[in-house]
């Protein structure tokens, strides 16, 4: 395993920089929704790297932090709509946790576009594509996270 940060630093200085975005998807809704987008042969930018979890409530703020510090240009968390969580309440906890984290990031000078959250259900392949396309556009405008270091 190469030191991820060094690798990202090299990538971010290249002429042909493409953002690398980590996405934490819950297994039951958003991962299925992303899968639906795939089986429907919908096209969307390949900058997303998906990590499948049982529930959006499983996402630890440390995961988001480590991704951004190791050079991911953006992080997305996608989960079930409120009320539809497979484990009843996981996404409610996630909603509280990440409301705080998002505001903290902005307070400390991290571009708010770099950390986003979305509710995507298993039937919302279209919404998934829309979310990803918009996210990649915004991150491209925000630039590489390691640009100045």
């Amino acid at each position: 395993m190469i030191n991820p940060r060094t690798q990202e630093l090299k990538n971010s200085r290249a002429e042909s920089w493409e953002p690398k975005i980590a996405a934490f998807l819950c297994n039951w809704c958003s991962y299925a929704g992303a899968d639906l987008a795939g089986t429907s042969r919908r096209e969307y930018p390949p900058n997303i790297r998906i990590i499948r979890l049982p529930c959006s409530g499983r996402v630890n703020p440390l995961f988001v932090l480590k991704c951004l510090m190791d050079g991911a240009d953006g992080v997305l968390i996608a989960g079930c709509h409120t009320g539809d969580c497979h484990y009843s309440e996981g996404n409610y906890y996630a909603r509280r946790r990440f409301a705080i984290l998002k505001k903290l990031f902005e307070f400390l000078g991290i571009d708010p576009r770099r950390f986003q959250m979305a509710w995507v259900s298993a039937s919302e392949g279209d919404k998934w594509v829309k979310v990803v396309k918009e996210l990649v556009e915004e991150i491209k405008k925000a630039g590489p996270i390691l640009a100045k270091s």
Partner: protein
């Protein structure tokens, strides 16, 4: 007690060495503006590291981009200059593939020479103590490189504070051990004492011989400084009889097991090795942390504050003295000044019960 005699001889010899060096070498007076001009001219060939005042936070050593930022006043830097020699986190080696073969390569050593200015005598003495660990039987590559590439320009202390006790640790606010050059702040400038070839190379071109008034000021200065140190105590000779004493239980109660005293100490040098992404980093570590001696089996020989605080005291005032002849403490007072609960190691050591048994 041959060990005690050896120790005393070693200390006396050091003193004699420094005094003779002084007589052989140069003393100059240089105006403040001229010193700054001189340092400015060095910026292209040297990295200049000196104290910088950060509003409301304190004094910190930093590589200076502009000499105007240099602070040569009375206040002490919070972190000692040790971190420019024994770095708080440095890559030792990295592994990877070269031409299809697995290799391990030493991390490259920095090449640029540097002038470290504004060090206090206690910090420079701390470097001499660190040399005994990293530059004697064992030669540490990067520490030695840092030592060789640096010219140490010290600043004698104008105003010791109530936590200082360098005189009890065989030092002084005007001490020259470990210095290449030592500055004494006088009216509108500095008297510069140059002790080494490195120092001569940098400073001999400027300045002039000090006049009589300045010489008098300097002698008075040297005489008076040591008197300003309030704390004075004698370190007990041999602490081993009281190793099991419950004194350590009592005195270690307030300790929080944080790393402030060890990280800010000019002589503490314990470290840990951390592997990050195929690079091996040496990071500083502190014996006060609760998991400092935690072993892979889960056993921790120093599970409570008592054992850890006792270890700190013994390492500094007993073990190191027995092996190397001097206490591993320069009396800078940083541990006292910045301890979040105001623990005072000098009081704790000087009040330690004497003798064998409890």
């Amino acid at each position: 007690m041959p060990a005690l005699i050896k120790m005393t001889l070693r200390i006396l010899l050091n003193r004699v060495k420094t005094d003779t060096l002084l007589k052989k070498n140069m003393t100059k007076f240089i105006k403040k503006e001229d010193l700054y001009k001189l340092l400015n001219s060095f910026l292209k060939d040297f990295e200049i590291i000196g104290p910088k005042q950060i509003a409301n936070k304190g004094i910190f050593y930093e590589p200076l981009e502009s000499i105007e930022d240099l602070y040569l006043g009375e206040l002490f830097a919070i972190e000692p200059a040790k971190k420019f020699f024994l770095e708080s986190s440095e890559c030792l080696f990295h592994s990877g593939f070269l031409d299809g073969k697995a290799t391990v390569q030493d991390a490259p050593l920095p090449d640029k020479r540097r002038i470290i200015i504004g060090l206090r005598p206690c910090e420079a003495k701390g470097l001499i103590l660190l040399d005994k660990v990293f530059d004697s039987e064992y030669k540490d590559r990067s520490y030695i490189n840092n030592r060789e590439k640096s010219v140490i320009v010290g600043l004698a202390c104008a105003k010791p504070d109530k936590s200082c006790f360098c005189t009890s640790m065989d030092g002084s606010p005007t001490g020259s051990r470990g210095m290449d050059v030592l500055l004494f702040a006088v009216e509108d400038g500095f008297i510069v004492e140059i002790y080494s070839d490195k120092g001569k190379e940098a400073f001999s071109s400027l300045g002039k011989e000090p006049d009589e008034h300045q010489n008098k000021t300097l002698s008075a200065y040297k005489q008076k400084r040591s008197e300003l140190i309030g704390k004075n105590f004698k370190v007990p000779g041999d602490l081993s009889p009281i190793f099991e004493s419950d004194y350590w239980d009592k005195v270690s109660f307030p300790c929080l097991s944080c790393g402030v005293c060890t990280y800010l100490c000019p002589t503490c040098h314990c470290f840990e090795l951390v592997d990050e992404g195929r690079k091996m980093y040496r990071c500083n570590d502190g014996c006060a942390f609760s998991n400092f001696t935690l072993e892979a089996s889960g056993w921790n020989p120093r599970p409570t504050k008592k054992e850890r605080y006792r270890q700190r005291v013994f390492h500094k005032f007993d073990y190191f003295k027995k092996i190397f002849g001097e206490n591993l403490c320069v009396g800078c007072g940083r541990c006292i000044r910045h301890c979040p609960v105001k623990m005072d190691i000098s009081e704790i050591v000087s009040n330690a019960p004497s003798g064998a048994g409890k």
